[in-house]
């Protein structure tokens, strides 16, 4: 199924949860997943619910973290 991740289309397996997505991406990029916040269709998904939240077709997902800024 298709979702949009940080503005880019992404194909993922049905049944993928937010936790699985974050783990996969942090493994791929070497990023520490602890500092990452997740928004699904403009609603924050708290860390405690990552493993319980299954993604659905067409979901708009934002993964954000802190960067340098003034």
């Amino acid at each position: 199924m298709k979702i949009t991740l940080n503005g880019e289309p992404l194909e993922i397996a049905a049944g993928t949860t937010v936790a699985m997505l974050v783990e996969r991406l942090s493994a791929e990029t070497g990023r520490d997943p602890r500092g990452i916040a997740v928004e699904r269709n403009r609603e924050i998904v708290p860390k405690s619910e990552h493993a319980l939240t299954a993604l659905a077709e067409g979901d708009q997902i934002e993964l954000v973290q802190f960067v340098g800024g003034g």
Partner: protein, 261 residues
């Protein structure tokens, strides 16, 4: 000096800080240089921005590997937000990412001046405070809006000295003084400082602290400028507490007139 400073803490939202200098983490050559400058500044709080995780460039440095949230208090900002809704959305995500309630709100009006949009800023502040945030607010140097933001419950009022990144210094010291005299929460000059004397002037006006980024990051030697800013903020604070001499129009000799040969 350390004893003197520790007896004069900066208290923001009930928490005491020794340093009155808050620094940004943008525009540095590297995060390593950034960390060194923040240490040289003696800063305890650093501002940070929230952005999409870069999924394409895996070699990109990660801020928290260098400027760590254990060494510094992260102050998430809303840089780049032009509406109250965007700012609130950003800071809710920042709270989820870091778990902190202390935030820096800035709602900008246009890209040319990055001047704060004050009606949207006040609206965002009210929404954030209702949602449990401690809001340090970037604002214009308008004493009326400063009062309205304090009444809304902001924990620090942060008027601009001049435009963000301009280095023009404190353009309206009279207004900054008016804001300081009326405020019961810390007043921190945010933006406009270009060099050490600007920071000292802000502190001599009675401000409780100074927040800066470009003045340090864009200096030829950022770490050295960070050290200069640390001393300037301390000097300005001490001068303010000491109380300056009155200005006179004519000379007043420092040596005694009696006993002249």
């Amino acid at each position: 000096m350390s004893e003197k400073q520790s007896s004069d803490p900066l208290i923001i939202a009930g928490k005491a800080y020794t340093s009155r200098l808050i620094v940004g983490t943008g525009k540095y050559a590297s995060y390593a240089q950034n960390a060194e400058a923040a240490r040289a500044a003696g800063a305890e709080i650093v501002t940070v921005a929230l952005r999409r995780v870069n999924l394409s460039d895996k070699s990109q440095e990660v801020l928290s590997d260098f400027v760590t949230p254990t060494e510094f208090t992260y102050l998430p900002n809303t840089a780049g937000c032009y509406t109250a809704d965007e700012s609130v959305r950003t800071l809710r995500l920042a709270r989820e990412a870091g778990g902190w309630n202390l935030v820096k709100l800035e709602v900008l009006a246009d890209q040319k001046t990055l001047y704060p949009n004050m009606p949207e800023t006040l609206k965002a502040a009210q929404a954030l405070i209702k949602d449990g945030f401690e809001v340090m607010v970037y604002c214009s140097d308008d004493p009326v809006y400063a009062r309205l933001l304090e009444e809304a419950g902001c924990c620090a009022i942060m008027p601009l000295g001049s435009l963000i990144g301009s280095g023009l210094g404190i353009m309206n010291p009279v207004n900054i003084r008016l804001i300081v005299e009326a405020a019961r929460v810390p007043v921190i000059v945010d933006a406009g400082v270009g060099t050490a004397s600007d920071a000292a002037i802000a502190m001599e006006l009675g401000c409780d602290g100074v927040l800066m980024n470009t003045a340090i990051a864009a200096a030829k030697d950022p770490v050295r400028m960070a050290r200069a800013m640390k001393h300037a903020v301390i000097a300005g604070r001490e001068a303010y507490l000491a109380g300056r001499m009155p200005k006179k129009r004519y000379a007043d000799p420092s040596s005694p007139l009696a006993g002249l040969i």
